[in-house]
């Protein structure tokens, strides 16, 4: 059967309500008796709680309740959020409470929750809750946290080392001992918050008639939320339902399960009324997880021809005050470093340090961009030191396509072998070099310099693990209505999940998408699910949807064959019916087929067919599908101000097979924009007391339309052998090459000054300082950091 929607730019089923203001986001949910919550949060980076006095707050008209850890304790079977993904690397456990009891360890940590008639009054009351604190020393820097005399992030913890592990293969000692050239870099890499335009939120309602607590959460992982709530509240699966409404962006922080998502349901149950909490932007800065600092000390050994002999180093990763996800972030950073290249020996020691700030968990890219950045900076260094073209150094080391599948002597977090399944890495590099005009750039550059303009180009390659397993279930079902219903644990946050699933299923049913209804991210729709992150859903849910749809199509035709009395191979499916190909008027509607196997009391099902018209699949794949690509940037630097403009960005990307090219392009462009923001604008700053100092959108800079260049997207398709669709994940890939390509381009633009960049982001004052320092000017400007 030929695909009719797969591979096509079909319109999104998400669009009609979103375009007309009929979306149903978390804050759009309401009932007449809905109450509103506001959290009282720690204003300190680290302190003991001596006492909480809520009497004045409770007396305010319109307040229904004020709850503290003490109030919740009797209702919690488990009083901590135990969410850390398993690892042997942990040296200690620091799990979040629902509400802080006698110690707060980051600004923004929730201490009490107020519930009132509306958010205005709830905020009035929250300001009246009197919390007495005894301030303790706060630890702001991940490196300082690991020093012997550092104060403790948690007063009763033994030290601030959360976890430590090594990733290594080959003989680095020998590689470095005998190397003709060894180059070392110290890198500071910083990424910031997720900052979806919609913040987080939770609505909880206990229905006495259903005897069930329903929680709507603006989350990427509803089934995980359900499991955790079940354990913590002591409710079984029949007493609990988690639903994701429309989600206004996720980008990682919404994949985490949060204290507020326990506090709100508890408040709803204690008060006997539905409760809503919407995170405001100020809260997002201090209460939603984010990425922050990584400190890399890394060196590369190469032979006289610039071929890599080995890479080794140390990484100190800032973890924040609690474990809200695990060690995965720096694990992926460490894993990603060598992926596109032949690296015979590798060793990275990784330490995760606690600090008194909100926990660090993945933001789009999830640690992999940092690994890519480290490697690309090292290769630029090699090129400069050996006076070789940066593209040539890479060409000499990229894994060649004929070597696919290429086994890296690495193990994933779950112990799976890292096998680069497919791809043509050198071709992607060449595609972007051609698109950016690499070959004759020097001419353009000298012409520009003669006119006082400093332009430069940069390049970066990337390989990204996508399609994180083990599975994502999909059920496809046809009911008497004739509609094709898809249910999945996959969760939508703007990446067109529902359209993706509908396209894949539609292909088995004549290509019509208007006959399809998709329910994603509802625990009542599917018993199991894992959720949206790690660019996994097209791979995992898509594959399950495909297999289920193929099975369902077979069954549908088999039943129709009996009902129409026609052989299976003469039948086809189209526009909601099965028909005889040669005589299309001989048909039976899907709804009628469903009715035929719905069962009539006392009557046998036609031709011994099994009951019902549905198929469920949970395609299992433990190995990751490795997407790859390359990015190239052209920038202009104003040497008088240090301002950087990205004039052009091109990215070549291999997603295996594109389900919907329009959606793939949108994901890539969005990812690149995010990466540009990380390179040049986004810095989440804290002072020495761990107070956030960039906590509004005036100080924390998200990239706008005027700062975003046109982004050219080129495609290659190397289908992955790992799943039936041949797809690889797309959502995070755009982020990967942005920062390294831009830094490379800035150095190129400023090569007359000999500027070297060992950080991301870089801001104009630092660039100016680098120019002046390199030019040996008296007036050096102190860098911001």
């Amino acid at each position: 059967m030929t695909a009719r929607t797969f591979g096509n730019r079909v319109g999104r089923i998400e669009d009609p309500p979103l375009l007309t203001g009929k979306g149903r986001f978390i804050d759009d949910i309401a009932w007449p008796d809905l109450a509103h919550a506001a959290f009282v949060r720690s204003p300190h980076g680290h302190a003991c709680i001596l006492g909480i006095d809520a009497r004045v707050a409770l007396a305010l008209p319109g307040v229904f309740g004020v709850f503290t850890a003490e109030d919740f304790a009797p209702r919690l079977k488990i009083d901590r959020l135990i969410v850390g993904l398993p690892s042997s690397a942990y040296r200690q456990e620091v799990n979040r409470p629902v509400l802080a009891k006698d110690e707060v360890v980051h600004v923004g940590e929730p201490v009490a929750v107020v519930v009132a008639v509306n958010r205005y009054v709830a905020e009035d009351a929250a300001a009246l809750v009197n919390v007495e604190y005894d301030i303790l020393p706060a630890v702001a820097d991940a490196r300082a946290a690991l020093a012997k005399n550092s104060p403790n992030v948690h007063r009763n913890a033994p030290h601030n080392l959360l976890a430590e592990f090594d990733i290594a293969y080959g003989d680095v000692t020998a590689a470095f001992a005998n190397a003709p050239h060894v180059f070392r870099e110290s890198l500071w890499q910083h990424r910031g918050g997720g900052h979806s335009i919609e913040c987080r939120g939770c609505v909880a309602r206990y229905d006495v008639n259903e005897e069930r607590l329903t929680a709507w959460c603006s989350t990427q992982t509803p089934h995980t939320a359900m499991q955790l709530l079940s354990g913590m509240l002591g409710l079984d699966e029949s007493q609990l339902r988690v639903i994701t409404p429309d989600v206004g962006g996720g980008f990682g922080p919404k994949l985490i399960f949060y204290p507020e998502e326990v506090a709100v349901p508890l408040a709803a149950m204690l008060l006997g009324r539905p409760v809503k909490w919407i995170e405001d932007r100020r809260e997002h800065f201090v209460a939603s997880t984010q990425e922050r600092d990584q400190f890399w000390d890394i060196e590369i050994a190469v032979d006289r021809d610039a071929r890599i002999l080995g890479v080794r180093g140390q990484l100190i990763h800032e973890h924040g005050a609690y474990t809200a996800r695990g060690v995965n972030l720096p694990y992926e950073s460490a894993q990603t470093v060598t992926l596109p290249y032949e690296v015979p020996a590798y060793a990275l020691n990784v330490k995760l340090a606690l600090t008194n700030k909100v926990p660090v968990t993945p933001v789009r890219g999830a640690g992999q961009p940092q690994g890519c950045f480290a490697m690309e900076r090292l290769l630029d260094r090699v090129a400069r030191e050996l006076s070789l073209d940066r593209a040539e150094v890479r060409r000499r080391n990229l894994i060649q396509p004929e070597k696919m599948p290429y086994a890296k002597p690495l193990r994933s977090r779950g112990g799976m072998a890292v096998l680069l399944d497919s791809g043509d890495y050198p071709r992607c590099q060449q595609m972007v070099l051609d698109a950016i005009g690499w070959a004759d750039f020097r001419t353009r550059q000298s012409t520009a310099r003669a006119r006082g303009r400093y332009i430069g180009v940069g390049l970066a390659n990337f390989v990204k693990g996508t399609g994180r397993g083990p599975f994502e279930p999909v059920t496809v079902r046809i009911g008497p209505s004739g509609k094709i219903q898809i249910y999945s644990g996959a969760t939508a946050m703007g990446q067109s999940t529902r359209t993706m699933l509908a396209q894949i299923v539609a292909d088995q049913f004549g290509g019509a998408m208007d006959n399809i209804v998709v329910t994603a991210g509802d625990t009542a729709g599917t018993a199991m699910g894992i959720g949206g992150f790690n660019s996994r859903q097209a791979v995992m849910a898509g594959s399950s949807a495909h297999l289920a749809a193929v099975k369902l199509r077979e069954k549908t035709i088999a039943i129709a064959s009996k009902l129409l009395n026609a052989p299976v191979d003469q039948l086809d499916v189209d526009a909601g019916a099965v028909f005889v190909r040669a005589k299309p008027k001989t048909a039976i509607a899907l709804g009628d087929i469903a009715r035929a196997v719905a069962g009539v009391p006392g009557l046998a099902l036609p031709g011994g067919i099994a009951p019902g018209l549905e198929a469920s699949e949970a395609f299992v794949c433990d190995e990751m599908a490795y997407a790859n690509g390359a990015g190239a940037a052209e920038v202009e630097v104003d040497p008088d101000t240090g301002a950087v403009s990205v004039l052009k960005f091109v990215i070549a990307h291999d997603c295996g097979r594109a389900i919907n090219p329009m959606i793939v392009d949108g994901q890539i462009v969005g990812g690149v924009a995010h990466g540009i923001g990380n390179a040049l604008f986004e810095w989440m700053g804290f002072d020495a007391e761990c107070q956030p100092i960039t906590a509004t959108f005036a100080d924390y800079l998200l990239i706008g339309s005027s700062e975003t260049p046109d982004i050219g997207v080129l495609h290659l398709e190397s289908p992955s052998p790992l799943n039936p669709l041949g797809v690889k994940g797309v959502g995070e890939c755009g982020v990967m090459p942005a920062a390294p390509a831009i830094m490379s381009a800035i150095e190129d633009a400023l090569s007359p000054f000999g500027v070297r960049i060992a950080r991301t982001p870089i801001l104009p004052p630092e660039i100016l300082a680098a120019i002046h320092a390199a030019a040996g000017l008296e007036k050096t400007l102190a860098p911001t950091l």
């Binding site: 979103l18 203001g21 205005y120 900052h195 690149v672």
Partner: protein, 164 residues
């Protein structure tokens, strides 16, 4: 002290007479009191633009206005852009066809901003479009689809104007 005022405001052609608390923002009044949840709140401090509506035809951030200030005025929100329940405005069609939205949360503000912009600038350049939406943040699209949609919409509107 929840001081209230009676206000009369026309939103998307419909007149509302309501009693509203004086400190409530226009955004909260529309969303919570009138059930017009199409307008979204992304930052509540005047940067993200998700709350943008048209006040007497001019774009304004509804998180930075008090509901009482809307008394006697006319407002258009995203819910009022489509000409009818089963027909989309050319700008909305252009967004759909150019993948100008992903999660859809910033979209209401983008649409109202562009309705004003295209009305006042029917033949814009790409650069002018980028400046026009520089007060609206999007985290999903990288703006490319939105810019393409705006330029496409300008063409569609021109064709409609020139239609006999």
């Amino acid at each position: 002290m929840s001081e209230k005022r009676n206000i009369a405001v026309t939103i998307n052609g419909k007149r509302y007479e309501e009693s509203v608390e004086v400190r409530w923002t226009l955004a909260d009044f529309m969303r919570q009191q009138l059930g017009l949840t199409g307008t979204h709140l992304g930052c509540e401090h005047g940067v993200c633009g998700a709350c943008t509506i048209l006040l007497d035809g001019r774009s304004a951030r509804s998180c930075l206005m008090l509901a009482v200030q809307a008394d006697g005025h006319e407002i258009m929100t995203v819910e009022g852009i489509a000409p009818s329940a089963d027909k989309l405005h050319p700008l909305q069609e252009a967004f759909r066809d150019n993948h100008g939205l992903q999660c859809g949360f910033c979209t209401p503000g983008m649409l109202t901003t562009l309705i004003e912009f295209l009305r006042d600038n029917p033949d814009p350049t790409e650069q002018e479009v980028r400046i026009a939406i520089s007060g609206n943040l999007c985290r999903c699209t990288g703006y490319q689809g939105i810019v393409a949609a705006a330029l496409d919409a300008a063409q569609r509107l021109k064709v409609l104007k020139e239609a006999p």
